[in-house]
């Protein structure tokens, strides 16, 4: 599963990611970016375009193994 992390300390609100993937990233107001951290896998190309376009390289993309996530979920429930 596709996962996104944006380093909001780096983000300078150029909004290039919003142009590239407008259903995944959006501006809440002029300054603050919000995003869907778990977009549908079909949006991968748009998300890759968004990450590459970021002028401050604040966007990371990763793949989450579903089994691992379930184990992680169980683990946290046990705590």
């Amino acid at each position: 599963m596709l996962r996104i992390v944006v380093d909001l300390n780096r983000c300078e609100s150029y909004a290039q990611c919003v142009f590239a993937a407008p259903t995944v990233f959006w501006m809440k107001d002029e300054e603050s970016l919000e995003y869907d951290y778990a977009p549908d896998d079909s949006l991968l190309v748009q998300v890759e375009r968004a990450a590459a376009a970021c002028p401050v390289q604040a966007i990371s993309i990763c793949w989450l193994d579903e089994q691992l996530e379930q184990q992680g979920g169980n683990h946290s429930e046990q705590q």
């Binding site: 919003v18 142009f19 590239a20 501006m27 190309v45 375009r49 401050v56």
Partner: protein
């Protein structure tokens, strides 16, 4: 003969095909004062620092020192025109007869707070927060357009990437975006070309020749302004879904854009749409043909194009130089004091090849991860059209590489356009064995 400075050698047409060794020499001294009182900045750290510095402005009216004063041109308006257009930045009245038309720079030539307001107004119908999907929604149309252009190459063994492909794509898209009727496109092509070619900083050209070209370019700019006024009038009466209609009728919290600002913004977007992405696409194909292994990889891995276009923006950027900044105060940087009122010239393409910032900077490496290039500048004047330029180039290169059979350079190197600032080949002749469906 007078010895040319390194920067004058960059402007010299003789060095257009490969300015990069000159940039490397310039970087030995990050900030150099030119004999005309301007300062040339060539290193990554210093360029980024100045682009984020509020003491650096973009408004020519704040200059007290004028670089390269053209013989016989002395009024403010003429200086305004001359100093702005190389950056495709202004709606200056280029009158040589001293008409009273007001000089209205577009937002590329303004400083905060005016800049910020007009840029927000210009972004309202183009992108977030109001129209976040405007550019992304153009994807399927761009794919169709690229393929229509490639279809015209069927049956040919030799094609010009510039005329047959790289020029028509951005021009068709910017015309559509601005709601320019198709029958006007040829005329605007000619106007845009005349404006850019009229602005020739080449020190090898005689003063007289440069003056003549500037005057001609000024008249052309007036023609473009008149065209835009008429087009705006038509859109005001019959608004469509295009960007220009949006600028006129669909405004946000900043209120409607003033008429002179609409004219200057539309003119800026039109020229920028004609003179920049064409070079990014052409430089892209040239670079791929010089790196056949990368071209072959792109054919197999189409998504490589995303990072590849970023690397192109670092390695062969279409905008090489930002020639029109001005120091709003005395600024001490890299051991030099840039005096208030002085023109400041930022060599973006040099910064993006700075070995102090990029590993192995002269290598074209589409897998480069650490790539905060200066292809679109940075700071408040970051390229407005960047999202469109990226998508156009990604699609253009993907489709070319997918469909052309055995593309190869007819000769290397290609002839270049005149401009050192907006740099790219005038023609790029390639040979092909055929075109796939």
């Amino acid at each position: 003969m007078i010895q040319q400075s390194l920067y004058e050698q960059v402007l010299d047409y003789a060095n257009r095909a490969n300015p990069y060794p000159l940039y490397a020499q310039l970087r030995q001294t990050p900030v150099t004062r030119q004999t005309d009182g301007s300062y040339v900045v060539s290193t990554y750290r210093e360029i980024v620092s100045l682009l984020h510095d509020p003491r650096i402005g973009s408004d020519f009216r704040k200059r007290s020192v004028h670089d390269r004063p053209p013989a016989g041109l002395s009024t403010n308006k003429e200086q305004a025109f001359k100093s702005q257009v190389p950056e495709v930045g202004t709606e200056a009245s280029a009158s040589n007869e001293g008409s009273e038309t007001e000089v209205v720079p577009s937002f590329i030539g303004l400083d905060p707070p005016e800049h910020d307001r007009i840029r927000r107004q210009a972004t309202w119908p183009f992108g977030p927060p109001h129209k976040p999907g405007r550019v992304a929604d153009m994807e399927s149309e761009l794919i169709c357009l690229a393929n229509r252009q490639i279809d015209t190459m069927k049956g040919k063994s030799s094609i010009d990437i510039v005329e047959d492909f790289a020029y028509p794509i951005p021009v068709t898209m910017i015309s559509k975006l601005l709601g320019v009727p198709p029958e006007d496109q040829a005329r605007l092509h000619a106007l845009s070309e005349a404006i850019i070619e009229g602005i020739d900083l080449d020190p090898q050209k005689s003063q007289e020749e440069r003056k003549r070209r500037q005057e001609q370019s000024g008249q052309t700019f007036k023609d473009l302004e008149q065209y835009m006024e008429a087009l705006i009038e038509r859109h005001r009466k019959h608004p469509g879904s295009d960007l220009l209609s949006g600028l006129i009728t669909d405004y946000g919290p900043d209120g409607p854009m003033a008429q002179p600002d609409i004219v200057s913004t539309a003119s800026l977007l039109l020229i920028a749409g004609h003179e920049t992405t064409v070079n990014l696409i052409t430089n892209g194909m040239l670079t791929l043909l010089r790196h056949p292994d990368v071209l072959e990889r792109l054919r197999r891995e189409p998504n490589l194009v995303i990072r590849l276009v970023e690397e192109l923006l670092r390695y062969e950027p279409p905008v090489q130089i930002l020639p029109n900044r001005v120091a709003l105060a005395d600024i001490t940087i890299a051991g030099t004091i840039i005096q208030k009122g002085s023109p400041v010239i930022l060599l973006l393409a040099s910064g993006s090849r700075d070995p102090a910032r990029f590993h192995d900077p002269d290598k074209f490496d589409p897998d480069r991860r650490d790539n905060m290039h200066l292809g679109f500048g940075c700071g408040i004047h970051y390229c407005y059209g960047a999202p469109l330029a990226r998508l156009e180039t990604q699609i253009a290169l993907t489709e070319l590489v997918r469909r052309l059979e055995n593309p190869r350079l007819a000769y290397d190197q290609p002839p270049y356009r005149q401009s050192a600032t907006l740099r790219g080949p005038r023609h790029l002749i390639i040979e092909i064995d055929g075109v796939k469906d």
